[in-house]
Symmetry: C2
Subunit: 887 residues, 2 copies
Amino acid sequence: MQVANSPQKWLYFFDEGVSDKKLLGGKGAGLCEMTSLGLPIPQGFVITTEVCEEFYRNGQKLPTGLMDTVLAAMSSLELRTGKKFGNPEKPLLVSVRSGAPVSMPGMMDTILNLGLNDSVTEGLATLTGNRRFAYDTYRRFIQLFGKIVLGVDEDEFAKLLDGEKRRRNAKQDSDLDADSVRRVSESYKELLRRENKPLPQDPAIQLELAIEAVFRSWMGKRAIEYRRQYRIAPEQARGTAVTIVSMVFGNMGDDSATGVLFTRDPSTGVRGLYGDYLTNAQGEDVVAGVRTPKPIADMQGEFPRAYETLEQVSQKLESHYREPQDIEFTVERGALYLLQTRAAKMGPMGAIRAVVDMVHEGLISKEEAILRTSPEQLEQLLHPRVDPSHKEIPIATGVPASPGAASGKVVFDADTAVEWTKKGEKVILVREETKPEDVHGFFAAEGVLTSRGGKTSHAAVVARGIGKPCIVGCSALTIYQQSRLLRVGGATITQGDTITIDGSSGSVYPGVVPLLQPELKEEVFELLAWADEVKTLGVWANADTPEMASKARKMGAEGIGLARTERMFNSEERLPIVVSMIMASTEEERRYYLDKLRPLQKQDFKRILREMHGLPVIIRLLDPPLHEFLPRLEDMLEQVEKLQQHGDEKQLVQAKRMLDKARALSEANPMLGHRGVRLGLTHPEIYEMQIAAVMEATAELVKEGVDVKPKIMTPQVALHQEVKLLREQFEKVRLLIETRENVKLDVKFGTMVETVRAALDADEIAKYAEFFSFGTNDLSQATFSFSREDAEAKFLPFYLEKGILSDNPFETIDEKGVGRLIKMAVESGRATRPDLEVGICGEHGGDPRSIYLCHRAGLNYVSASAFRIPVARLAAARVALLDRAGN
Amino acid sequence: MQVANSPQKWLYFFDEGVSDKKLLGGKGAGLCEMTSLGLPIPQGFVITTEVCEEFYRNGQKLPTGLMDTVLAAMSSLELRTGKKFGNPEKPLLVSVRSGAPVSMPGMMDTILNLGLNDSVTEGLATLTGNRRFAYDTYRRFIQLFGKIVLGVDEDEFAKLLDGEKRRRNAKQDSDLDADSVRRVSESYKELLRRENKPLPQDPAIQLELAIEAVFRSWMGKRAIEYRRQYRIAPEQARGTAVTIVSMVFGNMGDDSATGVLFTRDPSTGVRGLYGDYLTNAQGEDVVAGVRTPKPIADMQGEFPRAYETLEQVSQKLESHYREPQDIEFTVERGALYLLQTRAAKMGPMGAIRAVVDMVHEGLISKEEAILRTSPEQLEQLLHPRVDPSHKEIPIATGVPASPGAASGKVVFDADTAVEWTKKGEKVILVREETKPEDVHGFFAAEGVLTSRGGKTSHAAVVARGIGKPCIVGCSALTIYQQSRLLRVGGATITQGDTITIDGSSGSVYPGVVPLLQPELKEEVFELLAWADEVKTLGVWANADTPEMASKARKMGAEGIGLARTERMFNSEERLPIVVSMIMASTEEERRYYLDKLRPLQKQDFKRILREMHGLPVIIRLLDPPLHEFLPRLEDMLEQVEKLQQHGDEKQLVQAKRMLDKARALSEANPMLGHRGVRLGLTHPEIYEMQIAAVMEATAELVKEGVDVKPKIMTPQVALHQEVKLLREQFEKVRLLIETRENVKLDVKFGTMVETVRAALDADEIAKYAEFFSFGTNDLSQATFSFSREDAEAKFLPFYLEKGILSDNPFETIDEKGVGRLIKMAVESGRATRPDLEVGICGEHGGDPRSIYLCHRAGLNYVSASAFRIPVARLAAARVALLDRAGN
């Protein structure tokens, strides 16, 4: 890219080799650039943004002498095209286009076909042998010029056109014949005269007025509002350039055509021309859909030269822009012209395949491939989605609120959702909007669809929280709650009818639509392998079973950051032992049951450790309070009641005993209660069993020659004294088993940092803990004093909707509060123990923005659920690259 | 005080004018100082702590030449006393005493009556005409010397004495005659010979060995443990000095006496000699209680000269030490000697009266008076306590764990406590130790008494938490739980017997003992007025009613820091309206009931504001979640059950509706749920009503000419956006009522800072809040992730006992975590709004150490419950003085 040297120069031809976006605007610079590449671009020139600035400095007047320069340029254009501006015999028509340094699509004005007047139109008719085409073009020009330049109300033109159509009994514009079209153009001119703004017949005057109008549109309402909305600072976008391009026509006969193509298939990413075209047509006709376009391959027969050129052009443009392109072209009498090229909008798999291929083709670097792939794109591949090869037409589209697709029978309330699900049905919960009392329906349903609300509505927040597909604000639906039916378009859907929803796109389909189950193609793994080369943050997985560990390893996990031992307590054959342990009234009795659990836990640990051989595995000691392992209080009350009426004595006594225990253990705020390390310290025999089981598992595997890297971590720590006491217990058990088994046990000891107090006590805690793992779910709950389950059901949606919170802090780490605590803890922990290993486990570990924060806070790894690992690897690589570049 | 110049000097006579505590130890320096004051002190000298250091450097050997110097000093002592060391005709006896720079009472050894041998004892007998006295003194000397210097087992001496008593049929030592006592002394000597450690007959050798023994006791087990416990650093206490004092005897006839006196009455503080004495007796006899001592006033007749001297001495010592003194004295043949003086241990009221009087007497400054009064002393006056004029003898004494005294019938389990209380009985819960399942008994009982546990046991922590008197670790009690009785000494107390416990002293009394209700004497208010002059921290009160406000104002509150509006919702006539409001299904319906509440709230606010005219009143908007106003879920379940069996249809429908509502509102962790500002924002009509009620109350009072300073504050804030929205609502309501009432409303708007997130967002929050009030109870819960009620019942006692926590963070602000958050919030809040007013409300506001922290964090005020205001005023003054002095 070259930069203009002379600030005095008012305009540049496309072929002057200048392509300064700031000076020429995006569109102007693009056309110059393509011209420089030797591509077939219509002739033209750009009036600079500096002129626009001058225009506003001058009180909205063009600089003196500008029009002389422009008209001289027009003469030059006449020479270059062999056409003449205002000459009926070989008329030069131009488009006058806006284009600012910062893209503002549709916000400013453009005038096409400028240069037409009565005589030129007649000439065009003769020249093309197509009178209707000539007058239709004239009519369109008058309308556009009248509206934009002369400020005449658009509706007035529409009325005149409708009148003619009524008189001629024409249904569509295309039903009007040449004379009718001419009459319309006459009536338009008459309209302008009546408004005292006659159409200038002098093309030079047309041009001057059009240039002024484009400059004025820079300060139009829409443009100002757009810049305010997107926070485009004045210094970023100093004004608009004006690009003047000679018109080319794809409708000059059967040797002309127009079309659109992609340089790679947007859904698969496979390289090759992909698109449609129409012979003897203009761009508008393609859009209008009157005629069915032909596949681009057909051009090989019909326009072999143009096709060949298109192939070359595609390659050239991709080489130049190093992105798949979306190209508009016109063939005018056999000659190919490119009207526009831009980055192609690719589907998620297409985008990834394209960047991977482009690396192999040498077009881009691996780093660029990573930076071009958004975690959101990758995320879409991780959920079921509608098969793009099945071209179903949605019956409605709403706001995509929670990704993934699902089919099911429509139900209109949560209770029915639960009821039908119990009977084995799959259901989609459909409501106008949801409320806290509907939450049980979310758990039952495959997905949720509402006719109201936005991305932060209750339905959206809750569905994302539990990972179900969800569409909200689907306003095309009218729901008749009482009648259990909904209407959409002309159709009626009643309870029990099947629909499919795609929470990634917002589309609602009737019936069952084939879904693609998430499956990662080879190219994704290739991209992720490159990501691994650049990322510095480790990506580990949360996994409680060997099966999950295996899956995580396949997804690229470099370790297990969280293996929850309570899940192992909860399995069917163990729960009775756990309950007996809880019901025990003495430590001895508790130990009796714990001794039964110990070999089971040892087997759990052996299997996970073996699965993850060579990689670290962090096993977390028991976290939840004991009452969570007992039946619900309300159920127990009911059972006692029942037994009292007609049960046997012994059962009643037992049930009452358990009820008493549950009451004694019950807590006002269990999240902040007697759990985690607090339970571990007051009931040391429980953690002792778990630590011993890990040590024994390790000893046995070491003897088998398996390379294991076990780590034990304690939850809910608030105080370094807690960690100190546990560390002592840990070392005692290690020594015991090392001695007994005669083997060295390299097991690390660390702690969760999930209370605020622990984050503030990190310097002392690091004396006893070899690693930290941030539990950002609990830490966020404590920092905000929000109980997540209560908050998401009751007030978080309202908070997000009102903008009180910009993000759900349980999805994306709150930087100001929680982020600050994390940074403080990392710094003070490492001040004590420079090699302190620090990670994060919990859902935030799979959230891209949270991963950026973790990288920047200097964490060693993030740990996420297995299916989010690809996203995490990509995000970790991106932040490493961004920070390397100093952004 | 003078400091010694020559470090080589090994010893100092009392009258050398040197009183360097570091060099001479506390006791030695004291005797030197009193000698300097011209008081009648026995002659003596001090061997310095430097010699002790030398002794240890030397491998526990006295420095060469020391004994020569000591013996030369003994010769000088002989000259001064006219007695001779080892001379039977006018024997000089001495005591050899330990005494380190830092007081370590009872931790090191002292030997009395040194200088006795066989012939000197005979001489003493002749001289005093009291053979029994002489041999008894000899016996005691041999025993003490044998044990301390020669290391002979104490029990061996006791056996010999017991043997003689058995043979003579003597019950007590005093029943033995002179011959018997002589025989015992002979048997003691024989014992030493048998052990091959005969008593040296040469007093010089006795002296050398005794000096070594005292030095050795510096490194005795007890002394080392004491220094470790009290964290006395080696550089603070380099060793012990040895003080050698010539013995004086109060038992040399009827012209001799011994006694103890206070210079002011320790319980009332009234100035004047206060104490007892015995004629012809030794100190031990007073302690033994064999003879009933006479009141000190009787000395006016019996020993007029000595009494007059004592009066002068008292005044001199008070002038010198500027503290009430506790003086031991002996009259030997008419001559008065002071043996010791020390700061008198005063009762709480005595101490305060004394310092106030001493300010009036010009002895100390007001600042000193404040610094000498501990908040704990003042605190004792704020609880009921045992009337000190009733000289009841406790049947047992335990660890004072929670202040205040109470009488009640003994019960041995929590259920009985609840049952009996329902019948109108007052009970004291007595147990070996308490557990979480006993907590309901704490609420029922007047007080709690346990036979086990320390200050951090479950019973202690829970009782302090709810403010009930409690004694723990009263090991003299043997509790027979099954039999519902306890034994103490010889007595038996059964369930239903009345006892009185004094949680401030740890004393347990049988029956009902008269209690003094807390009543603050004039002197206390005088002291507090001085405190107000120096403190910079405001002391406000938490008060929800006009009555509480009035009480707080009398206690010296300078404002109301917390008026909870939910308490106003809870009163009997309003709760039905509140419940109807909660049950409302639309906002309109809610508003209907809120409109009914509004005039009631307005009256509440008017009454409090009027009561506090001229002073600020902070009214907090509704805090608890709505479900707290509904009946308990379990009760509702029961009612529905009952109605289903035999109730009328309409009632059943209503009950079910309420149950459904309660279920919908129920939360997993209500502390972190839908409450405070979260409720205020989602249900804006509630806060709107409350704000309007405050504004209307203000408008009406302003029109009446009352000077009011209302402030409104919002609870549970986590985000500045919450505060921004509420501020907007506040201003809207203010404008509305200002316009309607045509009066300017100076109402301030502020926020609680009781979530961690708010503390970290303080810079932004301060843009919208004019003041902060730290809610340290909730902030501590969130910081630790401890639910207070669960923690105090379940694991906090364990944590305190094990030293995992050194203080209960709900009683004293945790400096490292919560204190740091407070400091951060104050700094960043003031960075935004330099005049931001910052205070603290909640129980910590009445805790002295928390008040120190608040002062140092730069808070403007603390707000405490009315009855803790005196303590807060004193603490605020103390910290201001301490910090002024640069400590």
